[in-house]
């Protein structure tokens, strides 16, 4: 029942230090994995012995999305007892990252949910309600995802003679009782490794992965659907597509709280845009502007002048005060920026719409510019292994400070004290009554009866696996952000993030492409035109692109998924009729950064604990004294950690197999069981 396996664990085990690539940016302290694991095991073994959870917590948190996880970490860090639950069998809710096979299971689950109407039995918990108590039932169905469509364009033909199950039907019935035995968050993956060990071994031999994606060779070799499934665990496919502004609230929080040590990051190499069907680089930094071949020297000057002004635009109110009530676009026109430059600034730098007012546009531009140069020449970072790592990192921090985690475990209803109209307890899905002083819950658990307003927005998403980058360049291992101005002026701008295999989110030889826009129709309606504009979408699965040069030059789509995700970020506490100590966390919003979620987490935390600091730095492992043992308790790695940079790098090379996914697999397979 109690899952010991944190996906993030494998990272520190494999990557003791993350100061090894040029683009890895967080100065990471050597971290005692043993210490963390030790503490998890203590927590968990205690729980294994008892049948039930403790009956009292300070804070019960339902849902493991980013906001909830940050709140969990923050509360736990300052000494609150935290119970953190999620009804799903994976962490991070709609922020999760899946392996390809994991995603197929998720899709299957979505489809099943559409069919099955869950009948609820209230009798179980009726008996637990005392006099003077009221009940607020929670929803057991997650309806935040809709319009899900999947298309496969990779060849379905068998690559090898052996029989492989069609994965869409392979989703095994998930049984809560068996999951704990497998100790993995991803049953499909586990099954793969169990049933096909010889095959994956064979693959490792046939395809030397240590040289990631030698493109000419890869292009020659057609990637079949079977290959995607077999290599499925190399994928980490995010449900939401976001990047981290290097001076955004999330990065600041990761640094402040020392949670950054649990993850690794890569910077976004290219900021691109799409004009007249052509993908080109957006000049945003000084060096970009200097090197740009598309701009005339006068444009360069105009752009630099404008960007310099934006950096401290508040100091020059006279420049823009006539435009505060007018759209940013008009202001750009007034600044005599050419059409080209207006597009660059509006869509790719400020990333705002045609209607956005001037001041907001200026602020967005300023934010973008201030993020430049902190970690390289673009303003963004991306967490290796996908965005889903981030909520898990915070969960881990919560667990390190004593938080208790249960997946596949939800809350049926809240027990409200009639007199004070406050939640005093929750009744979990196993019928246990757990008292708490605060209850934090993700929006998707709230029933419609508790909502005052149902004015959601929707986000349209598409996830593509492609065979090539939209902008081939010297280095094919770059993450690119592509902003695509609306094809028609009424349509929303589309944001595209293309991840390369070295971001540890897709198999070598493929690219993982995320498209996001605010919905005007279904995801497919919104995004399919952009997909066919930028990519080659074959009509028959596995068909070769026609010989036309234009089609040849576009990357081919191997697999695509469209879905809509509910965006509740506009809602606030007044949108729900709930007791005052229930704090609802909205799901991911449609913006590129995560600032909105972090700010919400901080405000909820201050609501719960007005006098406590939000996520103070966790002490360095070397500053921690363990009760009953001396300083030798520190991991043996610590003494070496203070060595010079070169040795540090050398060590990273030795210990760090992250560049060698083959090795990673073997470790990842063994780690969970060895920890048990």
């Amino acid at each position: 029942m109690f899952l010991l396996y944190f996906k993030t664990w494998r990272i520190p085990v494999l990557k003791i230090c993350c100061v090894h690539f040029g683009y890895c940016v967080f100065k990471c302290v050597y971290f005692s994995v043993r210490h963390d694991i030790a503490c998890h095991v203590t927590v968990c073994s205690f729980k294994m012995a008892a049948e039930d959870l403790p009956s009292q917590f300070d804070v019960v948190i339902l849902g493991t999305g980013l906001t909830e996880s940050v709140i969990a970490a923050a509360c736990s860090r300052v000494g609150q007892s935290v119970l953190h639950l999620d009804r799903r069998n994976y962490y991070a809710g709609n922020w999760a990252s899946f392996t390809f096979n994991g995603l197929l299971s998720w899709i299957e689950e979505y489809k099943n949910q559409q069919k099955v109407q869950i009948t609820e039995s209230e009798q179980v918990w009726r008996s637990l309600i005392d006099e003077g108590e009221d009940v607020v039932p929670l929803s057991s169905v997650d309806s935040s995802i809709s319009n899900l469509e999947v298309f496969c364009y990779a060849s379905e033909e068998e690559e090898k003679e052996e029989e492989t199950k069609a994965p869409l039907t392979s989703c095994q019935p998930v049984n809560a009782e068996t999951v704990s035995e497998e100790t993995t968050g991803d049953s499909t993956e586990a099954q793969d490794t169990v049933t096909e060990p010889s095959q994956s071994q064979e693959e490792k031999d046939s395809q030397p992965i240590s040289s990631p994606a030698d493109p000419p060779v890869e292009v020659e070799k057609k990637i079949t659907y079977q290959k995607l499934v077999k290599e499925g665990r190399r994928f980490n496919i995010d449900l939401v597509s976001k990047l981290m502004y290097s001076r955004g609230a999330l990065v600041d929080l990761l640094i402040k709280s020392n949670v950054s040590r649990y993850a690794e990051f890569k910077n976004i190499g290219h900021i691109l845009t799409c004009r007249n069907g052509k993908v080109e680089q957006v000049p945003c930094s000084r060096a970009d502007v200097f090197a740009s071949k598309q701009l005339t020297v006068v444009e360069k000057r105009m752009l630099m002048k404008f960007l310099t002004f934006c950096l401290d635009f508040e100091q020059h109110p006279e420049e823009y005060q006539d435009y505060t009530e007018k759209p940013f676009r008009e202001f750009l026109k007034n600044k005599k920026l050419t059409e080209n430059l207006q597009d660059f600034v509006l869509h790719s730098i400020a990333m705002v719409t045609q209607q956005t007012l001037t001041e907001e546009g200026l602020k967005a531009t300023q934010h973008f510019l201030r993020c430049l140069g902190r970690y390289g020449n673009t303003p963004f970072l991306f967490p290796l292994y996908g965005l889903g790592e981030i909520p898990q990192c915070f969960c881990r921090m919560c667990a390190v400070f004593g938080g208790i985690y249960c997946l596949r475990h939800s809350v049926q209803c809240l027990v409200v004290d009639k007199a004070s109209n406050k939640v005093k307890a929750v009744i979990d899905t196993r019928g246990q009554k757990i008292s708490c002083s605060h209850f934090v819950v993700e929006d998707s658990y709230i029933r419609d009866e508790q909502r005052q307003s149902t004015a959601y927005r929707q986000i349209s998403r598409a996830v593509l696996i492609t065979d090539r980058s939209v902008l081939p360049s010297e280095s094919d291992q770059q993450i690119s952000l592509v902003t695509i101005p609306p094809l028609e002026s009424s349509a929303p701008a589309v944001r595209m993030v293309e991840l390369c295999s070295s971001s540890m989110t897709c198999m070598p030889g493929t690219y993982l492409v995320h498209l996001t826009c605010s919905s005007s129709g279904t995801a497919q309606e919104d995004l399919a035109p952009v997909v066919s504009e930028l990519f080659h979408v074959s009509t028959i699965p596995g068909e070769e692109p026609s010989e036309g040069a234009e089609e040849r030059s576009k990357p081919a789509v191997l697999w695509v998924m469209y879905f809509n995700m509910r965006d509740t970020s506009a809602l606030d506490s007044s949108s729900y009729s709930l007791p005052s100590n229930v704090h609802v966390c909205t799901g991911p919003d449609g913006s590129l950064g995560s600032d909105c979620s972090i700010k919400l987490a901080e405000s909820v935390f201050h609501h719960i604990l007005p006098d406590e600091e939000f996520c103070p730095p966790a002490p360095n492992p070397e500053d921690i004294i363990y009760d009953g043992d001396g300083p030798q308790a520190e991991g043996p790695g610590f003494d070496e950690s203070v060595n010079t940079e070169a040795e540090e790098e050398g060590a990273a090379h030795e210990k760090n197999p992250s560049t060698e996914p083959a090795e990673m697999d073997s470790v990842a397979d063994t780690t969970p069981s060895s920890e048990e």
Partner: protein, 580 residues
């Protein structure tokens, strides 16, 4: 409970730190003494290497220790096989690398590294180049590393193309780094040299050769590419000086040919004045004067004792050699060291004679920007004007425009130039004196040009805010000069080059010093009304001008001096018309 933080009292920590430091210092001092003792005892062994290694790894700037290490290594080298020598020096390289991590700007380390590489039987230059790349990526302005890189490149024969690409890369990542631009300027002439001009005149120097030497020039095709690169940089960030400096280097870096630009001979004084294209020290330059085929023994002197290097030199001919006005004489001055000479004929009936290249012929004042094709310059001027429209306050742009205008047509652009100077002084008040001086220089140049076009010997530049005097060697033949209503503070020693000067007007300035009115043989009249001459001693140099008869000193503080009249008549007995 996990996560409890160790707390130490700060006083305790301080004390611990202090003790630690003391211990370290003690260890260092005793090790140092031991090493120095060993050295004076002449011991060159492994132990010495070890001891110096300890010391140097904590303080790599201890030059004596590096010297000692070299002595030891040279000693050890003699008693070892080649393989072992290689190993010995390779471990030395490793050690230096460790030291460079302590201080990447240690003179001792880098010097020692160059030395070790000269001693290595098989130096690994690729590795060294990699080290340079790494160091420069950490600190792109580490000039020690730049220097070392040049050594490595030279030794390992890295191609110039590769190095140029290297600068492309560095400039691409940060165009504010002048080190990369400068390195580029040394590479380009090697890679794209300007083809030699058609005429052979350049190779055999003669007085008629073009005054510009075409070394360090780049072929035009490449130049145009470089202009574009510089445009990109200064349009992106016009306040960044690196690109502007590079641009100026591209536009002109011609050196004037060294030559004798003028020979002047005066019958009356029996004196020869020689002007050179740059200041020289005539006594040591091998000057030879030939009069009517006869080499003459003459004494060369500069026009003012304070000028040891001077563009103008004088000598007196033997008495009576040219004084007869009915004789014609031929005079040649040979500059033997530079294989150049200049002739001058003194015809019958002439009191004086000269032979010279005029400033106009020499395009003298273009030497700062020397692109030959004015079409190219015109295009560059257009680009800069375009930038100025966008950035009307940019000083680099303004200054470059001024230079371009001067190169194209100094007289035609005079008005615009003056307006730009005015803007420059406003936007960059910290350097307004510099701009004033520069403006004075250009005005003087223009006036010289105008004077030459008019073929007169009168130089008039009044009411132009002149702050300084220059190009005085060009005024060797001027007889009348008017500098009134300017902001001059002094008549500098160079003023003594005006060997033909008869009348000087310099009213309404702020002149304090008359140092330059020294042995001006023809000076008859001086007007210095409303200046700042305070002391009688300031007028002493006038006594050396033997023809001076008229002197106007009205409106100077000096008139307050007691007994000024008598003192002056004693000092300047020849002055008959004195106004005080």
């Amino acid at each position: 409970m996990h996560g409890r933080v160790k707390v130490k009292s700060t006083a305790q920590q301080e004390e611990e730190k202090r003790k630690e430091r003391e211990k370290k210092l003690k260890a260092f001092v005793s090790a140092r003494d031991a090493v120095l003792r060993k050295r004076s005892a002449g011991e060159h062994d492994e132990e010495a290497l070890q001891l110096t290694q300890q010391l140097l790894s904590s303080n790599p700037d201890f030059a004596t220790l590096w010297n000692y290490r070299r002595e030891v290594l040279l000693q050890l080298e003699t008693s070892r096989e080649k393989d072992e020598v290689q190993k010995l020096y390779e471990s030395e390289l490793h050690f230096i690398e460790a030291c460079l991590k302590v201080n990447p700007k240690s003179y001792g380390c880098w010097h020692h590294r160059s030395w070790v590489n000269t001693r290595l039987p098989q130096p690994d230059w690729t590795r060294e180049l990699g080290l340079c790349d790494r160091c420069l990526s950490l600190d792109e302005r580490n000039f020690h590393c730049w220097d070392y890189r040049r050594v490595v490149v030279k030794e390992s024969g890295v191609s110039v193309e590769q190095e140029l690409q290297f600068t492309d890369r560095l400039i691409g990542s940060n165009f504010s780094n002048y080190s990369s631009w400068h390195y580029r300027s040394t590479l380009l002439p090697q890679l794209h040299p300007q083809p030699a001009p058609d005429s052979a005149s350049n190779t055999s120097p003669s007085p008629t050769a073009s005054p510009q030497i075409h070394s360090h020039r780049v072929c035009e095709e490449q130049l145009l590419k470089e202009y574009e690169l510089a445009h990109n940089a200064f349009f992106t960030d016009p306040n960044d000086q690196s690109a502007w400096f590079y641009y100026r280097w591209l536009l002109g870096r011609a050196e004037r040919e060294e030559m004798i630009s003028c020979v002047y001979v005066s019958r009356e004084r029996e004196r020869v004045s020689v002007a050179f294209s740059k200041p020289v020290h005539a006594q040591s330059e091998g000057l030879m004067l030939v009069l009517d085929g006869q080499p003459q023994q003459v004494e060369w002197r500069s026009t003012h004792p304070r000028l040891r290097h001077s563009p103008v030199w004088l000598c007196d001919l033997p008495p009576g050699s040219v004084s007869d006005i009915s004789n014609e004489h031929n005079l040649t001055v040979h500059w033997t060291e530079k294989y150049t000479h200049r002739d001058c004929a003194l015809y019958t009936g002439c009191a004086e004679s000269w032979c010279r290249d005029s400033a106009t012929d020499q395009e003298l004042f273009r030497s700062e920007l020397s692109v030959e094709k004015s079409s190219v310059l015109q295009a560059e001027l257009q680009s800069c004007n375009q930038l100025l429209e966008l950035e009307p306050q940019n000083k680099w742009c303004l200054l470059t425009i001024i230079l371009l205008m001067r190169a194209l047509d100094p007289l035609g652009h005079e008005k615009e130039t003056l307006a730009h100077f005015q803007t420059l002084k406003e936007v960059d008040p910290m350097r307004s004196s510099y701009y004033s001086d520069l403006c004075s220089k250009f005005l003087i140049e223009n006036t010289i040009l105008k004077m030459e076009y008019a073929e007169v010997r009168v130089f008039s530049l009044s009411n132009k805010n002149l702050t300084t005097l220059c190009h005085l060697d060009q005024l060797l033949l001027v007889t009348h000069i008017n500098l009134s209503s300017n902001q001059l503070l002094r008549l500098p020693p160079q003023f003594a080059m005006l060997q033909c000067l008869e009348v000087l007007e310099a009213d309404d300035n702020a002149i304090e010093s008359l140092e330059g009115l020294y042995h001006l043989p023809k000076l008859e009249e001086v007007s210095l009304r409303n200046n700042q001459i305070c002391k009688l001693s300031d007028l002493e140099s006038l006594a050396s001008c033997t023809k001076l008869t008229r002197l106007d000193l009205r409106g100077n503080p000096v008139h307050k001096t007691a007994n000024i009249d008598s003192e002056l008549s004693q000092l300047l007995p020849l002055v008959t018309a004195l106004s005080l």
